[in-house]
Assembly symmetry: D2
Homo-oligomer: 392 residues x 4
């Protein structure tokens, strides 16, 4: 199909040319002097994106691995972990915990909002024996477009006076939605390369607190590839204990440069602006009671993606197929219980106003061609947001 | 600025990744066996795009050179050539002819339509002594967005019974707007790489008729770099008489493959569809007597670009600056007498519906931010064209 | 430094332009139809390189992860595994097994040859109770340049009538030295992307036998990221259970095409020819009792790298520094007990005669500049091998 | 064929990855603000390579065009020009002059040395009427590997007290062999992109003196594409009068950065060192009266290429075919009267010691396979040059 594909799933995102080109260079000796400069640049600067001054571990593995790493480094077989059912990915993380021999307690959720901090606090307050060793939440639930207020979760743990570790998945928020590992008192933050960091998949991250490192010294789950200790020790010399994904590190280095050039706060503001414009479009389209934003709580609206629920009787996957075949755009599908009911618009990463308008136009024209009821003018509503003084 | 730049000048166009990547390979020996395969593939397949079975000369030079080549190969000092003032580029070609020592006769035009074949016929009919050696017209005038009916020009020459050569500039139509060098009886067609062929600038072309080759044998303008004879002779062996632009040929080969994959007729239909949607937008925006399509004759509407005239009192370059700085999009400027009055939207090359909608949204939002009077809803009008059954 | 870097460590290897360029394309939706074609092409064709008709699991992780995967999928805490000290990497794999809670028995070795099958047979014959669940060997020990005869190890296990699984690390032999997963009765083969497969690091592999899959159904080591079951199930539909390293798969697909174009047997023969030429050079240089090939057993000579031992009193890392700084070439260092005593020449991957001669010339000139005793003419000896009829 | 091709013709040269990657970026608007920065960077920094503080014109055309440009900007029909038969390219330039209507006087040469300044002086001294308007010489004759002393040619013109312009072709010396446009009193210097500048073909250059610019105001040869005046005027604003070869300018900008990083004097010294090593090899090979360096005058030895003459009865093109098919290396062919007698080794551009040793090894092994008589050990002789203190 002619022209550029619109990759508007909520990740992997549109990788900028500068990043692809940086990766398109000969692999170098990962034990030589040139590599050390690269490693230092990445290891130092990635911390800013997490909002931490502590080490960030970079795995030559995609994001699911960093979920596993967070758990196997800090916990022991049979440990209870408190998790929260924000959606599909929270559920997957819970299943992963079970497979590793942990005992997740799963607080049920509607899949239409983020974490309710009060529920966390209530459960922890009951846990007088501190059987629960960790609270694990997803910052931005990629399956629903609901963003949890991590600061409020921290406050809930504090209010309960509970010593559990706080672990947060930022796979689809890192580099897109403001995040503060240190300031929010997070112990392990899990991230991946292929969303806000504008890279292909293949790198993942653990940002760690001192408390998490301390926990890793006594935890009993077997581990080797994911072990923090050898990584942290080697990284202090700007090397890695085993072969790193060198060319993806070239890309990471360039992506960090691009984020610095734009300024992290500007990156976050840009994402919020595009999210607001997208919601204006969806709200307009659904004015007659048709499509609607899946997330029900405006305080939990996501800055990086918007999940849209179709009216009863319409299949979102059929709709997505119409969009792909007519407009060369990939939209995200509904996952597990949302399958066929929801599609998701990714508006994150290396993205700008006109790419957003192309995206929203494709969504609107897709409604027309697929026969989904909608009110015309959603893209016009989005343009009004984008040209309003408040958003400029 | 984040995200992808929208390069919506009427050329150079958005070069597809496949073409850029094809060019991003080591240069090879242009006298070795591997090069001969490349040359054969390019020299053979480029003919289809021109609609000819005759040789097409490929210059390692940008398009202006191919203008010069057309003239110096066929004409002699003092020869009269009949040219037609369709706009800025027709005027530049005329100036070039003067510099070469030719005597152009320039039929005045409004810059709001293509060539009037009747005027050509009338002048040729007067030229009983056949002092005029060539008729030179621009197929698609890049400065105005008016497309001349070359078949009608041919008919006019025939009607006058005049032996002049017919030379046509297709710089901004080749590979975008249907063109038939052989069927329309054109003697020299001038083309460039950086528009419909989806390449960076640096290659240019002369398609030649037998009559043009015959003329080249007696023409007297001095030439060497541009000489057809050595090119045609060497090309028959799939080599070039001097160093070709090897890496641009890699790109040309890939671009020809892409055009074949899509099908040339589909390529042309796609361009016409995008042009129709663009005009629907402009017509809607200007409904209150504001902006308007520069081209006044619907039979001359261009399939590859649309020039838009602003209402009196508004400066198009100020507007373009607003668009560039706010929306990371380059629009074409008004040239010479249209400077400041007109901007041009390129909708050619490797382009699709959502890129067009991003483009038109940027134009509309630019009106809003720059304070240009317009009627909201132009992008909506464009979407209606794109989703209509007639255009699907 | 001007010119191309010579990356002659035994991996990562020189990534060919075609592979880098294939990776330098926009990431696509890993759940869309285009991705499925890519996945099918990779998943099908990678089997040939392993010599298997069974599934090969592709991890979005570097090679160390595939070591871990082999063990955690098949074994239970406390299981004994018989390993063999061929060198540094065999030792690392043993340490990894310990960290995972396994009990490795480690047969001591000289680091100057591959595995002694008789020692394997003897130990297994003693193990009447079949406490040993797996025999783990390194096919080509990257730290020493000694290649184990895996067929003989298989024969030894059979001779002992022992049911242990056979696991083989082919990190630095896969795609360079002939390997037959099925024919040699291997149960799990571990591979990585950055050596013979000519890719950057970031992908790793497990080829699995039916017996290994059967073992995975009852094994008790906790696992999730590395689990074969979800991978095999998803791969049957040409998808992955979690985000794959899409752009590295682009590269893998291109690398497999290149290997098919050359023919796998030709690839292996090329590597043996370059290894023979390299050994001829080293033998000549050391003719006066100076440098020598580390591997003492000609039946175990490696086709992909040659480790060279310096005479007493000379430091190999100082030498490597001279080579890097003067000749822009990276050579491999001596690892653990070989540190400072040995350097390693990688002659694998996308490599040809003139690259080899550049490499060997750099080694020889490095001897001169670093003051290492050597006999001039090693490169001449290598050229004699390369131009001999036997090797042509 | 596996591994990297050795492109050892004397241009196009091995384009470095950094340059190819710089070119592999989207084309931008050549009238926008970003382009102006690029143009300024190129237009300013290219002057250093020519050794001039005057403007350098950059043509979007390959090198032959710049030959034509030098002549058409400064001369009038019928003007006499004094040229010198150093080899094939000097002869081509002479033919080009004839085609343009000039009257070249061609001083015969042996094709085994550069220009004899005394012959220039003698002819000019005779030309009392100053009928000769220009002296045109080739700095480094690419067909023979002989470098003319341009300073001595300048001195000869001065000694004759003749006002002719001095024009110099530096196609295969620019950026490889020290050159001083201003200091040597050259009026027009002709250059191309695909040799020492490490770019693909497609750009060419005219460096101009004030005297040359003055001549261009009265010269009568017709010209438009090649006209200096519009170029110089537009370049002063960092734009071009017609579409430039934007992506090649990206590459030029990166190449200039690389040359600055290395330092121009270091670049020249590196080329001389490689040339010396190459000649040591050829001299050794030919010690038994076989192959020999074509250039007979050591003061004219070329720093960028070495032409090698085979003994009678051996065909150089057959030999080159053996080298290409066995060793994946392209060597330059003998041109016109040297056809079949000579091959040429390019050792210029982005090149280093090990690339040179790979090259020379391929030459030597080619002798062996093709049955050319030679004395073994030429590569050894080259290594002795490269490791000698004088050359380090």
């Amino acid at each position: 199909m002619p022209g550029r594909h619109f990759l508007q799933i909520p990740g992997p995102t549109n990788v900028p040319d500068r990043v692809l080109r940086a990766m398109d260079m000969p692999t170098i000796d990962h034990r030589g002097p040139e590599f050390k400069k690269l490693a230092e640049s990445c290891l130092t600067r990635i911390r800013d994106v997490f909002g931490t001054t502590n080490p960030v571990i970079i795995y030559p593995a995609s994001g699911t691995g960093a979920w596993e790493a967070a758990l196997v480094n800090t916990l022991s077989p049979g440990d209870h972990v408190l998790m929260y059912e924000t959606g599909h990915f929270a559920t997957l993380w819970k299943k992963l915990a079970e497979k590793l021999g942990l005992v997740p307690e799963f607080i049920a959720g509607s899949w239409r909002s983020g974490v309710d901090p009060a529920a966390i606090e209530a459960r922890l307050a009951e846990d007088k024996g501190h059987q629960i060793k960790a609270v694990c939440v997803v910052h931005n639930e990629t399956s629903t477009g609901c963003t949890t207020r991590v600061d409020e979760v921290r406050a809930a743990i504090n209010a309960a006076g509970h010593p559990a570790l706080l672990m947060v998945d930022t796979i689809s928020s890192l580099g897109s939605i403001k995040y503060e590992h240190d300031a929010w008192g997070v112990d392990v933050t899990v991230g991946g390369s292929q969303k806000g960091l504008m890279l292909p998949p293949g790198l993942s991250f653990n940002a760690v607190s001192d408390k998490a490192i301390e926990a890793s010294k006594t935890s009993k789950l077997p581990r080797s590839f994911w072990s923090w200790d050898e990584m942290i020790e080697a990284n202090a010399q700007n090397v890695f204990p085993f072969t790193p994904a060198t060319n993806l590190l070239y890309g990471l280095d360039e992506a960090l440069t691009m984020m610095n050039e734009e300024g992290l706060d500007n990156v976050y503001a840009r994402h919020q602006r595009h999210a607001a414009a997208t919601r204006a479009a969806v709200t307009h389209w659904g004015g007659n009671g048709s499509v609607e934003i899946l997330c029900e709580d405006p305080r939990h609206y996501s800055g990086s993606l918007t999940a849209v629920q179709l009216p009863e009787g319409y299949n979102a996957d059929d709709y997505r197929k119409v969009v792909l075949e007519n407009f060369n755009m990939s939209l995200g599908n509904g996952l597990s219980k949302l399958a066929g009911r929801v599609f998701r618009i990714g508006h994150l990463g290396d993205f700008n106003d006109l790419m957003l308008m192309g995206t929203l136009s494709g969504v609107e024209m897709g409604f027309e061609l697929a026969g989904i009821p909608y009110r015309k003018g959603g893209t016009q509503a989005a343009m009004e947001v984008l040209t309003s003084k408040d958003q400029a």
